[in-house]
């Protein structure tokens, strides 16, 4: 156990080093000029001033030198200052991450529960009408782009029915201290729904396949021969054998969820990590962008790590191999 954790710890470190080199090179190759981004549209800056900036930021130094300066600062926990928001990158990430975390967390749990239930019901009733309905529903949604789904929900529930607000996480023009919890929920529903509906259908398809495999095994035939009812078969053998792949899938889904929330946040103008990353990218806010990329890869890695470790607890056969 300790050995495998240490091994994975080494892996995350090498992953982060590789990732930082990759992002750094990509940004270095991109046409974005940090000095320009910083000055923005201010054309009053004289060439001399711009030169001073370049010297101050070390833009003139070689890329390798620049990388080591940057990486060294990272190691000391200094992610730099956002050019756009003029405050430390870590502070911004922290506040945005909490907003996103609530969104992703709820969507994650909902899509897992909905997906598992739908998939199981479909598999247990394979070939019947209920299976066909669930299959049709899942196939349709799996092939639906997330931003399109978000737009449809916006049109129906926000524009036509006016049940939910069009965007943002809190009502516009209201002081932070005056925002009620119910308002936050009100703004929360549509983005969460978008993410859960799409994620759930994905998980439903995977669960259905897995469950059908399990139901075709000899030990299920034997359970039937021993007089176990469908419910008993599900309870005694189905859950036990399907929960393990379902859990891996669910945690491995962290990455996809993150990508999805980025698009959903954009559609709903929801001020989370995803929409911040888009803003940072579009405006050339390099420190913020790199910070978010590193933190979010750590987040996805954690998801996979948890999936791995949980597998070992659920499946006794993997334990010996640790």
């Amino acid at each position: 156990m300790t050995k495998s954790i240490v091994f994975r710890f080494i892996r995350v470190i090498t992953l982060l080093i590789g990732l930082s080199i990759l992002t750094f090179s990509l940004i270095h190759l991109s046409p974005m000029d940090p000095v320009n981004a910083y000055i923005g549209g201010d054309s009053s800056a004289s060439p001399e001033q711009i030169e001073k900036f370049k010297a101050y930021w070390g833009v003139n130094k070689s890329p390798v030198e620049q990388y080591f300066t940057w990486a060294g600062a990272l190691l000391q926990g200094n992610f730099g200052t956002s050019l756009l928001y003029r405050s430390p990158v870590l502070d911004i990430i922290q506040s945005r991450f909490l907003t996103s975390l609530a969104l992703m967390g709820v969507a994650w749990v909902l899509s897992g529960v909905i997906g598992y239930l739908l998939g199981t019901v479909a598999a247990m009733n394979r070939g019947k009408t209920i299976d066909k309905i669930i299959k049709w529903y899942s196939y349709t949604l799996v092939s639906t782009p997330i931003f399109w789904m978000g737009l449809i929900l916006l049109i129906v529930f926000a524009v036509w029915l006016k049940w939910f607000p069009v965007g943002l996480a809190v009502p516009a023009g209201v002081l932070e201290s005056d925002v009620r919890f119910i308002d936050r929920i009100h703004h929360f529903v549509l983005p969460v729904l978008t993410l859960s509906i799409l994620g759930g259908s994905n998980i439903a398809m995977h669960t259905r396949e897995k469950m059908i495999d399990i139901l075709n095994t000899e030990f299920i035939v034997f359970a039937k021969a021993r007089g176990e009812s469908s419910w008993q078969i599900f309870k005694n053998h189905g859950v036990r054998n399907s929960i393990h792949p379902a859990i891996s899938l669910q945690f491995a889904y962290f990455g996809e969820l993150f990508g999805g929330s980025m698009l959903a946040e954009q559609v709903f103008a929801y001020p989370g990590l995803g929409s911040t990353l888009t803003t940072a990218g579009l405006n050339g806010d390099l420190p913020l962008m790199v910070g978010i990329i590193l933190i979010s890869s750590l987040f996805v890695f954690t998801g996979n790590l948890i999936a791995d470790l949980l597998n070992k607890i659920v499946d006794p056969r993997v334990k010996g191999a640790m």
Binding site: F219, F222, R226
Partner: protein
């Protein structure tokens, strides 16, 4: 042979099982691995069903239990205690009056402790005690109940499978190849247990290709070839050169055993 009853416990007549298959995309065809099967088992009787691999022995067991795959189509007559064996009746009987010992250890749930698997279907209040008693009876340790199937040897798993079949009120035991891969001492224990089922009044269908072991306990033997019953004979007819056996196929099968003349036919062919 202890029976003088009019109604057999289980009667299978003209059983035919087909599977629909898709060939070349959309064309459907039906294959018939079982064409014309007859078996009859009385209470307290052991009937051995013998035949080569692929002759349809296991399908017969699965048909009686109602656990054929969903694409199977079957016709023919199956009577249990004089009444037709409908799917609904099978569902009620299996695991209670009809118990099944499967042929492979893959029939155990890989993720459930074996003790717990034996306890399924037992009265929850006494299940644990009963399971431990059964383990003792089959030479398994009390602690073995805590293990998962992958932690036990093949022979031990067979004994676990056997323990799952022992239930109060069982009238028919269907054992599908319960003997391969088991050492001689455990083998005789299994045969003894099957015999015990019969002595307690249950009918036993012993599906096997090990004729010699089967003859030790069987009252009658049904010989299956290509999904059809070739012959049903008293076990006592399997002796000497098989002169008392009715069909040539069975006689040749009997003589082909290593214990008998084994090479009789072969020699004659070679001389020719």
């Amino acid at each position: 042979m202890s029976n003088v009853q009019t109604k057999p416990l289980l009667q299978v007549d003209h059983l035919s099982i087909g599977f629909s298959q898709y060939v070349k995309g959309t064309q459907k065809r039906i294959i018939h691995p079982i064409a014309d099967m007859h078996v009859e088992i009385n209470e307290g009787e052991i009937v051995a069903v013998v035949g080569a691999s692929g002759s349809g022995k296991s399908l017969l067991a699965h048909a009686v239990l109602g656990i054929l795959p969903s694409n199977a189509i079957f016709s023919g007559k199956m009577l249990y205690r004089g009444e037709e064996l409908t799917p609904a009746r099978m569902e009620k009987l299996r695991g209670r009056e009809i118990s099944f010992i499967p042929q492979s250890v893959n029939y155990l749930d890989p993720l459930m402790r074996v003790g717990r698997q034996v306890q399924i279907g037992l009265d929850p209040r006494t299940a644990r005690a009963q399971q431990e008693k059964l383990f003792l009876q089959y030479g398994l340790q009390k602690n073995d109940g805590r293990l998962f199937p992958f932690e036990l040897s093949g022979g031990m798993l067979r004994r676990v499978l056997f323990a799952t079949s022992v239930r109060e009120g069982v009238r028919l035991v269907i054992a599908d190849e319960p003997t391969p891969g088991i050492h001689p001492q455990a083998l005789s224990e299994i045969l003894r247990q099957l015999k015990q089922f019969a002595e307690d009044g249950a009918g036993v269908m012993l599906i096997t290709h090990d004729i010699i072991s089967a003859l030790e306990i069987a009252d009658r033997v049904a010989v299956i070839k290509d999904g059809a019953t070739v012959e049903i004979s008293e076990a006592s007819a399997f002796e000497g050169n098989g002169e008392r056996l009715k069909t040539e196929y069975t006689q040749r099968l009997w003589r082909a055993l290593p214990q008998n003349d084994f090479d009789l036919e072969f020699k004659r062919e070679a001389v020719r």
